[in-house]
Symmetry: C4
Subunit: 204 residues, 4 copies
């Protein structure tokens, strides 16, 4: 079974997810700037989630580019990932409409964490099929960014109850780490947090 | 006429169906756990339907993989299947929002039954075109899972009026039968029900 | 410019149109049969429109199958067709929710008429590019079904004000003409109406 | 990395955007012509945005047709364009429902301007990758239409506060410039505005 239709279906779902989030931006009734102001938090959470879905699409694209064949297990690992991503519009709306309250911000992190785990499972399923010397296995390597993301989401969830701005800043930072292909950003943002792990992996 | 565009269109419709169901998860106004609680039944019915649409996509994918050409009849048999699947978001929402009441749970089964029949018709249309010795005809064989599903849906519909939990359990069981590619599950779950038929087919 | 992406984009739009119509089937609050009854007219109009969009997809599919190249004019003729079809969910909902009242039934016919004209324009644009001896030009021939549809829609629009059931019956009949690939249906349904034209074309 | 999946994903997003705008056309409750009248401004803004999304799809299609490879930068420039286009349904609804009031008409122009800038950035990213002698670089040339559009949007935004009809007329004019492949239209509509620039480029 080749990857063509898996990609087509995933593209379809991701394209719909990235687009229906905008439906949470309800058309306001007023026509002055004051009518737009209540939309600001929803817009901010929309931008964040747009970038996250974009990152998933981009990584998914790269991963399947070095994948030759898929089996039933990969197919369901992929659907599992799409399931968690399908909850992104919901948590985006909930967090935005409630001005980044504690619980919605934490639940947003739960969905990010579950999506990241599902992505890791999908990656492992493909590597399991293609072998440890496959192009994908080598490209992934130690998957530092992936592991960093998991750790940061795990921290961001409880920290939302200290102050939601902390988890917000962590979500934005991880998005930047994926968006900007430059290790220095990771070092600046997360060295105090993961410094030792970095040091240990310096030989990567 | 080759299968490319039939697959693309079906992928599109299935991707949209699997995604718009999540729109039934209305963003709650509160920000505490109590605000999420009413969403629990809708979420459960969403997960079930997500898996069912995933199963249809996966089976559809495999079926068309061993199909070489399609004609007008296959095309309409495919649209007929998509029609019944397009009602899945509606019955998912109805069943979930009413906490698995009797009638919505039964109607959910009716849509599952109609979808399964439509899938069987599509399968027969393709086999009719490709001949009884085609790869698809051999892959389908006696179609035990397909027939098992039809029988169980037929039972689950009236049983919803005895107790909706019975039909709920049956819907989940059939999803597991398709999800986990292992005959033992079928035997454990449905041998008391279909034991004799199994025995007769032991030579499969 | 080849037809691949034109087909992909059209498939996307048609898949979305055929699916978002189902969003007009609002999940009812009650859980008895009485709660479903108000949905009956919406469901009927949904089924009719589902078949119509299916017919357009199927015909579009066949037309582009015998098209080799497209230019800017064809591209815009295609977008023009998609525009009119994009109004189908709106008129479907309006007609269904108002129990097939006169004006909504007539406006439904206007959208069908405009879509049929747009399809004819698209067909002519492709033939203009490919020449009168192209496979498409020969396949289309006198386009009896196309012309019959235009005439019947033109009649159905004013007849909605005599009784909406008349236009309803005409819309269903044209759907059947396209659905069932058999000239006898056309003869039985429309010979009294178009008898002479048929006679004249007997040599087709 | 080839362009196939980038096109598929963009087609998906654009197909959804062009289609969900029609959801702003809320089904009216009445059944007479008076019930349709309030929909007129929404319909007009829908037609305008449908044409704009169609223009973007068509230009995107042509641009990627002469693009051979894409990298991460192109991929994100493309997502950036899709982000701004994803706001089109929102501003379309806001402008239409408020009968082309000043601020919504200006904000509509802001989204058009940002989309045009995002398109220019995407174009430059591809040219940067493919080199100044690539087919795309030569096809784009001085990109007169692109620069004209940017200037006109910049003018239309403040002019909405003089009278929204002025910006409306400017948006329609730019749509026509892209729609009709004929330089004379540009000359007739915009020569008083950009006359000198045109004169200087006469040697194009």
């Amino acid at each position: 079974m080749d990857t063509g239709r898996l990609e087509a279906f995933s593209d379809g779902v991701l394209a719909i997810l990235i687009t229906i989030m905008v439906l949470e931006l309800k058309v306001p009734h007023g026509t002055d700037l004051a009518a737009l102001r209540p939309l600001l938090p929803v817009t901010i959470s929309y931008v964040l989630s747009f970038i996250y879905v974009g990152i998933y699409w981009s990584n998914h694209h790269h991963m399947l580019h070095v994948t030759e064949h898929v089996d039933g297990r990969v197919l369901w690992a992929n659907l599992h990932l799409l399931f968690w991503l399908s909850l992104v519009p919901f948590v985006t709306g909930w967090m935005g409409e409630n001005h980044f309250a504690a619980l919605p911000s934490a639940v947003y992190g739960v969905v990010l964490l579950a999506s990241a785990l599902a992505y890791t499972i999908l990656q492992q399923s493909i590597i399991a099929r293609q072998g440890p010397h496959s192009r994908l296995a080598r490209a992934v390597g130690h998957d530092r960014k992936g592991r960093l993301s998991l750790v940061v989401y795990l921290l961001a969830i409880p920290l939302a109850f200290v102050h939601p701005a902390i988890s917000g800043a962590l979500y934005v930072s991880i998005a930047l780490v994926w968006l900007v292909p430059d290790r220095r950003i990771e070092r600046i943002l997360f060295d105090p947090l993961l410094g030792e792990a970095h040091a240990r992996e310096a030989g990567d």
